[in-house]
Symmetry: C2
């Protein structure tokens, strides 16, 4: 493949050198074909960067919603028995605490990444900023998905319980708590999906510099 | 081979600039500077592709280990009481079932991706195959992390229990089961981290085509 490509290029160069007796029209042709897509690329790369910026704001909204919903959920039951606690909060379960911390980190990262996204809009050919965003976005895909999945596993258990391990469902008592927590999990999964789209967008924008 | 090729091209360009008699020498300069790094890029891109292939095999080993460890774990206790089951298997808990399915899918994807990785080694400038691998790798980052995190949340609960929700630790009884499951979770997290490295590698290779 290398040999065919390079031989093709050499052939072009030979015809170029033959035809370039005085005017070099082939050379000008090569330059024009190279220059025009570069300017066109600037157009669609800027479009991708603007879309990237909008997606980042959507992800920020989703991550902030997940953090605040989970963090402020605190249900106190009007009665209490000796078997069930009369208060449920996110810090009762380690998975929910991790969820709040991870989504808060994701929100902070998204705020910090907005200036870099603006740099990509202003300078569509900036490779460094895009590569940096892509690497951190990929790490954040794993981070937000881990938080959402761990919380989802616990929420599932809270809803349905598990007879094999004698873990009882607690959502009959804490229905409001469970509903809010489920909403937070969904918001975090939305943020994770947006992060996947951000990685793919950055990769497409990086493809031809 | 590379050096002779590039020297041949430079010679052609020199004759070209001589024959064009001072008309647009800057254009000829652009052609020469473009030709040589293109071949150098082929070298380090092939190196990245080979590293990509090795990482894929490592991820495959980790994902297969996670699947088989979790899938074959089946502990039967020599005694039974009326409170605890006397058999523990992965399909007792939905999170563990999801873990096995997700890691099996990840293993299958990794086997299917190996030919594409070989294509990237043979043809270092193939953009389509790299972009395809990057997109699917990103999705798989989310997938394996979700499986590992959900299983980790349940394993944590099985080890420590939770007094707030009256979920008791079961690892005193099923210690062998818990140890094997923990090992499977670690293997799945290793696979997820390798997937993140694969995405970053693909992005670096895509950077300049």
């Amino acid at each position: 493949m290398d040999s065919t490509k390079s031989s093709g290029e050499t052939a072009i160069n030979i015809t170029e050198s033959k035809s370039s007796k005085g005017k070099a029209p082939a050379t000008n042709y090569t330059v024009t074909t190279k220059a025009t897509p570069y300017q066109q690329q600037g157009g669609w790369k800027r479009g991708i960067s603007i879309f990237d910026f909008i997606l980042r704001i959507c992800a920020l909204v989703a991550a902030l919603a997940a953090t605040t919903t989970m963090g402020t959920t605190d249900q106190t039951l009007p009665f209490f028995t000796q078997f069930f606690q009369f208060q449920a909060s996110y810090d009762d379960l380690p998975a929910f605490t991790f969820f709040v911390v991870a989504n808060a980190i994701a929100s902070s990262y998204l705020v910090l990444s907005l200036p870099f996204s603006i740099v990509c809009i202003v300078r569509p050919h900036a490779v460094g900023a895009k590569l940096l965003l892509l690497i951190f976005d990929t790490v954040l895909v794993g981070f937000t998905t881990a938080a959402a999945a761990a919380a989802a596993a616990i929420v599932y258990l809270a809803h349905n319980g598990n007879s094999n391990t004698n873990w009882f469902a607690i959502c009959q008592q804490f229905d409001d708590f469970c509903q809010r927590v489920s909403g937070a999990v969904v918001a975090s999964f939305i943020a994770a999906v947006i992060f996947i789209f951000l990685v793919v967008l950055s990769a497409v924008a990086l493809r031809r510099h």
